[in-house]
Amino acid sequence: MNFNFKHEWIETNIGLMAVLTMLAISVGGLVEIAPLFFIDKTIEKVEGVRPYTPLEQRGRDMYTREGCYTCHSQMIRPFRDEKLRYGHYSLAAESQYDHPFQWGSKRTGPDLARVGGKYSNEWHVQHLVAPRSMVPESVMPNYPWLLSTPLDISDTAARMKALRKVGVPYSLTQAEYDANVVKFGETVARQLHIPDAQKNLIEQANFGNYDGDRSGISEMDALIAYLQVLGTMVDFSKYTDDAFVKYR
């Protein structure tokens, strides 16, 4: 074999160099990301995961707006210490309707993937307004404006439409609604119907009264509604401790 490689071939041919450079730098992404779209076990088959209700979704907007993700992860890793402190490890299925997901890797504060139901609404209100009144050693900033700012609900439907575009099964038509009834049951399907978004949001906020103040719907109502649903959708008591081993 008389193959005499010369980098001159590449260096003197700008088109070839561009193509090879592209190839070289995209290899990492291609081999790590692309297969996930083909592997059928990426998302665990598990019952109970549903898209967020309009109020929860607006709460999630508050979560991202305030940058909660810069200090709090939502990803419990499959390690013993994490299981003991936070609960069952996070499943890919549990964040399948998150756009973008809030996994994170920076924990200045604790992981929040299963914070839902762990504290009362009242604790959350006090803790968000003045964290150190509840946890003296906390370094979390105060978020008092969440309680005093009325939630802007005017664009709720538009936000859900945008999420529908990226694959969240919020329904616009009767056919989509019917499909959701089959997939999630009627109670959930009603919450996912975009034409009723504002009505549903107001109903949930008034019924839940998350911030303890019935005079209006505050940003606090939305954020707590979101925090209280985190990690609660899957009932792990229905599964054996190795039910999700086969997916990895």
Partner: protein, 306 residues
Amino acid sequence: MSEQKLQSQTVQTTGHAWDGDLQEYNNPLPTWWVYTFYVTVAFAIVYWTIYPSWPVGKGWIGGASDVTYVNSAGETKTHSWNTRALLVESLNEAAAAQKPYFDKVSSMSYEQIAKDPEMNGFIISAGKSLFADNCAACHQSGGQGVVGFFPNLADDDWLYGGSFDKIHETLVGGRRGFMPAFSEVLSGEQIDQLAHYVASLSGVGHDASKAATGNILFHNDTAACFYCHAVDAKGRKDVGAPNLTDNIWLWAKVPAAQGDAGKVAAIREVIGSGLNKGVMPAWAGRLSTEQIKVLTVYVHELGGGQ
């Protein structure tokens, strides 16, 4: 210049020249670098054969290494290496190490656990970390609570009862506090009179004549406070109505209030607007039966168990 000349005799150039005489040496890579590179390639191949690696179709190559574990259904299973299987294994190991203690916790009565010095040591260490992870956010690290929000667990004043069974019941099912807002049924004056009466019960400075009228309102059907707080105002633990005679305050922010008038105002505030809070989450789904039992004893031992 002479050095360059020497090098140009031993090292090849890339062959082309710019600007007439600009040439580029074609130096080989350092030997140590090349061999390190080969070693990393070899390492990768070994790694692929041991651990899960390449995606193939709808799955992937699992690798030669595997994990054998016993699941909660008692089946022994072997799965190609992954962290989820490792977790089941490590939790089993930990559970086996804790088993002698948790078995004892299950089989012994609360009283026996509390009296056994060895078990007491276990309760204090295991209970402390469970308490810190799950309870301290509200009840604070020493169980002292926060006036106005969360009850003190380290004193002997209990809303729902401080016996082992009652503490257990509270942990398992959670609690929800409620008191009607009396501003809807009573006049401002009547609420003021009741506040003075309640203040008098705990020895807080008050107006005796207002308290006397409050006493009547408390015990007749106008305010009917005695339904929940009992005729002697010492509370009813079955409905979580607090003792009003012990100068221990949870909802009314009396300790922080300035002066007698301020303290009475703090009481008036609670009577007027009522309470729909005092929510304790249910822990049955989050903690195991044994963990809840450990916490029951731990909370009981914090200071005021009955």
